[in-house]
């Protein structure tokens, strides 16, 4: 059984980004880039399914700039077998990513497709659900537990009020939430080995796609600043402020 995992190269989660002065976007010069944390969880889950003998091959896909090879290599160092980079310097919408992944899935025929629940740059939380719709298959989003057995997948999902479990016939899509697993660190020998694993490079045009989107970003601005607060010295002072200044209790 094959697994397909989508990984996105994003600004590292520790970076506090700044908006460009001309308000066209955020400033990414010399900013640390990493694999989207939710994608790391997706890779880890695929590797665990492989270790359990359920999955036999893991193919990773990233849509992004040439440098996204780094994230594909990182996924290989964690245990993925093969990589496909769909190279573009443009911003690509989740709908286009879903179309790319659909085309690749049509070639690869994976039974299990794993994505992160959201990319922490654009915070869209869309690609997995869109891919499931395009492929007309079931989705287990925001997964906190995944079991695959007897041609079926069972996914426990984090929902607002608690947890929900759904059963999906294979192939099916999982989008990962934080509690699904804790990704391992790649060991040095595995990082070396990853360099030799096969990686294909494609373009959007290979799939008859472009980066065009009907959503246009008109501008990007910094969020409203909060006005500076104060340090209070004691519980009494805090209670007084909350009652008489802020009037919230």
């Amino acid at each position: 059984m094959k697994a397909l995992v989508a990984v996105k190269r994003v600004v590292d989660y520790n970076v506090k980004v700044r908006v460009k002065p001309d308000h066209t976007g955020v400033d990414l010069t010399n900013v640390k880039m990493s694999m989207n944390p939710f994608c790391e969880i997706a890779v880890e889950e695929a590797v665990r399914l492989k270790e359990k003998g359920i999955i036999t091959e893991i193919v990773v896909v990233s849509v992004g700039p040439a440098a996204a090879q780094e994230q594909i290599r990182s996924a290989m160092a964690l245990g993925a077998d093969r990589g496909i980079l769909v190279q573009t310097d443009d911003n690509v919408s989740p709908l286009t990513v879903a179309k790319v992944l659909k085309a690749i899935a049509a070639q690869e025929n994976p039974e299990v497709i794993l994505l992160g629940k959201q990319a922490i740059d654009d915070d869209n939380n869309q690609a997995g659900q869109m891919l499931a719709a395009l492929m007309s298959i079931g989705q287990g989003t925001f997964a906190s537990k995944v079991t695959v057995a007897d041609g079926k997948m069972q996914v426990e999902r984090e929902i607002d009020g608690g947890a929900q479990t759904v059963a999906l016939p294979l192939p099916a899509i999982v989008t990962t939430d934080l509690r699904l697993n804790e990704p391992r660190y790649a060991a040095l020998p595995n990082i070396m080995k990853a360099r030799k694993k096969p990686m294909d490079t494609k373009t959007l045009a290979d799939f008859g796609l472009t980066s065009d989107s009907k959503l246009k970003t008109l501008k990007v601005e910094p969020p409203p600043e909060r006005k500076a607060g104060i340090k209070v010295k004691s519980v009494d002072e805090l209670v007084d402020k909350l009652k008489n200044e802020a009037k919230v209790i």
Binding site: G138, R157, G229, K231, V232
Partner: protein, 310 residues
Amino acid sequence: MTILVYAEHDNATLKPATLNVVTAAKAVGGDIHILVAGKDCQAVATQAAQIAGVTKVLVADHDVYAHQLAENISLLVKDLAPNYSHIFAAATTNGKNFMPRVAALLDMSMITDAIKVVSADTFERPIYAGNAIATVQSGESIKLATIRTTGFDQAAATGGSAAVEVVGLAEDAQKSSFVSEELAKSDRPELTAARIVVSGGRALANSDNFAKVLAPLADKLGAAMGASRAAVDAGYVPNDMQVGQTGKIVAPDLYIAVGISGAIQHLAGMKDSKVIVAVNKDPDAPIASVADYFLEGDLYQIIPELTAKI
């Protein structure tokens, strides 16, 4: 323009998040219809019909919609879509689960987490954990968006008298089935709707302290309880209490962060609160950058004293 608002509910009661979405729809302008999809959800339809400003309520009451499975709901919404200029749902786990599916079925892009309606086709949404606000314009023939409830006030729950219409569709995609659900029970107000939220972080150290140190404060204030990811991951409290970029977004009148450092991802979920209080033993903790009132010290001394004095 006619806007379809997807009702958030549990088959018995309409969730207040729907009222925030109606306000977003009003900001667009035009007729507002509400879709109630569920099982034995007539009571919800009755409540939806009373929302001020709603002109029609569509009810799809069928087994296949009982558990809000995205595979089935998305087919229903897709079939209704041609009648509408906009389709909005709350940016809850439910809205985020089915709306992108609807968008893909229509071969359209959608907007996640709209916080402001600039015009009928232009919306603001936070990106990069709220460190930037993007203004996005949709050129799609139907504007699809999930609405972040904290960005909009609640429409009046009563005053309207919309017509209720039954939708005959019952679409079973047969791509998923419901197995079980475990919903957290709590006597406290719901986290995303509460006027006051008391949240605890890693410093609480275990679930016992959440119950013994933090809960009494929350109880006295009639507050909801939240947590940082660190506290949730460590198992001190359930997952659905996580506040942040990838958890719940809250904007109460008062947010009290106890033993929470204030990582970017946590701030993303609470920095639009009206008044923020932080209790932390580290005066340089990043939470201080958003706190209106910062009290430095040991939470184990401060919180019981605070509970006693309010």
